[in-house]
């Protein structure tokens, strides 16, 4: 299934190049999501199905949703409406659609050839990854949890809006 690997690699590189050359952040996000999905196909083909699933769920799912929310927060008003109208014209959505269709064709092809093994002889499943993760790398898991907690606290602190002075003075005096 080397052909799947090469096709997914070509899609990933093309989507990344197109992402870098977009002017609107939303268009670039579409291409970035396609690029991450293509890398997920590469992972699956390399015998890492667990990592492929995590790439789709966390990278293309959670992290990209954060990006989409921030871009939506930043592009309020009339420019955003104009960008939305431009987004609905065919030149804007045809690129990501074609690349995503290639990935869908690969997916269907993989399902049709269900018994075809991946490129490698033996794929490394989630069991081995979990055993290694919670065995040798347990201290790394603890450090990652501390890092995530620090990120959560920092994001909450940075996103916290101070109470405006006008509102604060409206406290009724006794």
């Amino acid at each position: 299934m080397t052909i799947v690997f090469y096709t997914a690699s070509a899609v990933a590189i093309a989507a990344t190049i197109l992402m870098l050359t977009r002017l609107h952040a939303v268009h670039a996000l579409l291409y970035l999501i396609v690029s991450l999905l293509a890398v997920a196909v590469i992972f699956f083909d390399l015998g890492a199905p667990f990592i492929a699933a995590l790439e789709v769920i966390i990278y293309a799912g959670a992290i990209m949703v954060l990006f989409v929310f921030v871009v939506m927060l930043l592009n309020l008003g009339e420019p955003a409406a104009r960008a939305e109208r431009a987004l609905l014209t065919p030149p804007m959505w045809i690129g990501p659609s074609v690349l995503a269709t290639i990935l869908l064709a690969e997916f269907v092809w993989l399902l049709a050839h269900g018994n075809a093994p991946p490129v490698v002889a033996a794929s490394i499943g989630p069991v081995e990854v979990g055993m290694a993760l919670f065995g040798r790398y347990l201290i790394g898991v603890e450090l990652a949890s501390m890092l995530l907690l620090a990120g959560l606290v920092a994001a909450y602190h940075l996103g916290w809006r101070k109470v405006p002075q006008a509102e604060a003075t409206h406290v009724p005096h006794p």
């Binding site: 080397t2 690997f5 090469y6 690699s9 990933a12 590189i13 990344t16 190049i17 992402m19 870098l20 952040a25 670039a28 996000l29 970035l32 690029s35 991450l36 890398v39 590469i42 992972f43 390399l46 015998g47 890492a48 667990f50 990592i51 995590l54 790439e55 966390i58 990278y59 959670a62 992290i63 954060l66 990006f67 921030v70 871009v71 927060l73 930043l74 490129v119 490698v120 002889a121 033996a122 490394i124 081995e128 990854v129 055993m131 290694a132 993760l133 790398y137 790394g140 990652a144 890092l147 995530l148 620090a150 990120g151 959560l152 920092a154 994001a155 940075l158 996103g159």
Partner: protein, 100 residues
């Protein structure tokens, strides 16, 4: 035949593209997206190497990269929002002089 060399080449190309994005683009959101591309390329290299030696360690390191990317992007996007509220701009040149 396992395409380890091709996998590493793809990883290198993606990393270089992300680096070009960080150096060329002037929009902070694009810079953050390019950093994501670079982190993803590094993870791809780890998974390719782990598959080459039939060890799960490469995938474990990819999980750590994933957690790090999630923390980085949450803090980075919060900073982007804060900078946009203060400067009304996402241009890295416009906010190059930080006066505290």
């Amino acid at each position: 035949m396992f395409p380890i060399r091709e996998g590493l080449v793809v990883s290198g190309i993606l990393f270089t593209l992300g680096l070009i994005g960080v150096l060329v683009r002037r929009n902070l959101v694009f810079v953050l997206m390019s950093i994501e591309v670079m982190l993803n390329a590094a993870g791809l290299a780890f998974v390719v190497a782990g598959t080459r030696w039939r060890q799960p360690d490469g995938q474990v390191v990819f999980l750590f990269i994933l957690a790090m990317a999630a923390a980085e992007v949450s803090v980075g996007l919060a900073l982007v929002l804060e900078l946009y509220h203060q400067h009304k701009s996402l241009d890295t040149d416009a906010i190059s002089r930080m006066r505290g």
